[in-house]
Chain length 308, copies 2
């Protein structure tokens, strides 16, 4: 491979983590897209190939393309890039499909250019791509895809990202019911106001989750994985949500919730064994719902986008 | 001193810490009440003496008395207690005056009885006293008074308290403008609903503050000390609030806000020197406002209520 080409793995991510709507996210191992990125002497961004997903080849309409253009505009590189995308994360699944493409593109180009940009800058370029997909610029998938581990978006104006400690035994289980649920639709059903009481409960849980992660207190993590604001509304769009929660908790999961804007759901567990047991129980349980689905389980990915 | 009597120091506390309304709090050194508590063979709670404050001697109307009764009711001790209270924290000052009395009473009685109750149980007894003072049961002053350091109330139902790491250099400065501002009034002016956007910003800040405390990242702590919900309303009741904030930040403070429900305001600093400088600048600045006031600065008290 010459120095003008790189292949990267772009991890799937779980945003929100129940209580942390729009601020928390974590990166997954084993599930992610692959991209080949090549520097060219011709300016501009070309999407040369997409496999595994029906996505726009027009760079201006593709999240990876838009993210790449945002980076190139900020750089003094006079050339352009060609991008091949091998999708393994189904678009619309709720585990950061568009974020993976956007994050992968900017990480790869930055690497090829000799790392002129910082991680926070890469996040801001990738967010430009994300905005295209969701209708609202958000960073809670892009940040963990680029940083790895568990990230917090403290604020958006300006973008302020912090790493949160991730206990070694933390595993995630994902079940993806293959129904269509667009991020923009999934946002529009949310109420624009909440009660102060709901707010207090939510920021108590965010505080509890982060304290539990830093102190590796799995009991506190478990009690904090509660969403009193978004989940009661969004879960109505996900067939079998309540039953799956009961199955996951009965299998020993620490908590259960909606991954990002859905339709994927996730459980967090202490250890791989509980993750496997939870995945098996969810699989058995969801078969009766009659909707095609996929599941996987994974430790937290501490690296983020990396050469593949 | 025989084993049926104890004298305790009951620290003042700062609740909320800007973004953490009703969930965060920290304990102070140097400022606090003193109490003498004695076990008696006669059942019931007697407040035998109060100095430094015009507070009810009737145990059923006194926060320390109510907290003591809650503990005694849950215990198998057949006798009662006599309580002397030496107030140094002015009632209504916003640095946990009633919480100090409630926390001190239950800690002292528990100690004399041989520690039958856990810290979370002591908090719940003390909260019964607090409810009398504020009209709403809250634990964000009582918890740090009993645990010491910085505490998080993850949730109230059931009460779930966690310790948050406190960086060694963290100091607090308090300015108490001597105006009357009752907790119950200060709560009633709050709006009952907030926008989802405000909520996201607030829980991003709570997450940022706790992450900053655990990682000793003073920059992150500083950026997270923001309250977009309560402070804009409550600060209107505190003359000179905006000017004091500007003075504190110019002096190098990490952040500035309302202590609990006010009227006291606080700044957090990195180190004692900045605390002293901030206290001096606030003192000079507040003299022109024309309201009597007191100031002090203090490291965080890691011990909570202790024998004195």
């Amino acid at each position: 491979m010459d120095q003008s080409t790189i292949s990267v793995f772009c991890p799937a991510t779980i945003a929100n983590l129940s209580c942390g709507f729009d601020v928390l996210g974590l990166a997954l191992k084993g599930v992610g897209d692959r991209m080949n990125v090549r520097l060219t002497s011709n300016p501009g961004v070309q999407i040369t190939r997409i496999t595994g997903g029906d996505l726009p080849m027009d760079a201006g309409k593709n999240v990876a393309g838009v993210a790449a253009m945002a980076l190139l505009e900020a750089s003094d590189f006079g050339g352009g890039v060609e991008i091949e995308i091998e999708k393994h994360i189904l678009p619309g699944s709720g585990i950061g499909s568009s974020a993976a493409s956007a994050a992968g593109a900017v990480w790869a180009i930055n690497n090829l250019l000799g790392d002129p940009f910082t991680l926070p800058q890469l996040v801001s370029f990738a967010v430009a791509g994300e905005a295209l997909a969701s209708g609202a610029p958000h960073a809670d998938n892009v940040a963990p895809a680029l940083y790895g581990g568990i990230t917090l978006i403290r604020g958006y104006d300006p973008l302020d990202i912090a790493r949160v400690h991730c206990p070694a035994l933390l595993h995630a289980v994902v079940l993806h019911p293959q129904i269509e649920l667009k991020t923009s639709d999934s946002r529009s059903i949310l109420k624009k106001t909440i009660t102060l009481k709901q707010g207090i409960r939510q920021w108590g849980n965010v505080g509890g989750l982060i304290t539990g992660l830093f102190t590796e207190d799995y009991g506190l993590i478990s009690r904090s994985l509660e969403d009193v604001i978004i989940e009661p509304v969004r879960s109505l769009l996900i067939p079998g949500f309540g039953e799956m929660r009961a199955i996951a908790l009965k299998s020993g999961a620490l908590g259960f919730g909606i991954s990002g804007s859905g339709p994927s759901v996730f459980a967090l567990t202490r250890g791989a064994d509980t993750a496997r047991r939870t995945e098996e129980a969810l699989t058995r349980g969801y078969e009766s719902v009659g909707i095609p689905f996929r599941t996987f389980s994974s430790p937290v990915n501490r690296m983020g986008v990396r050469p593949w």
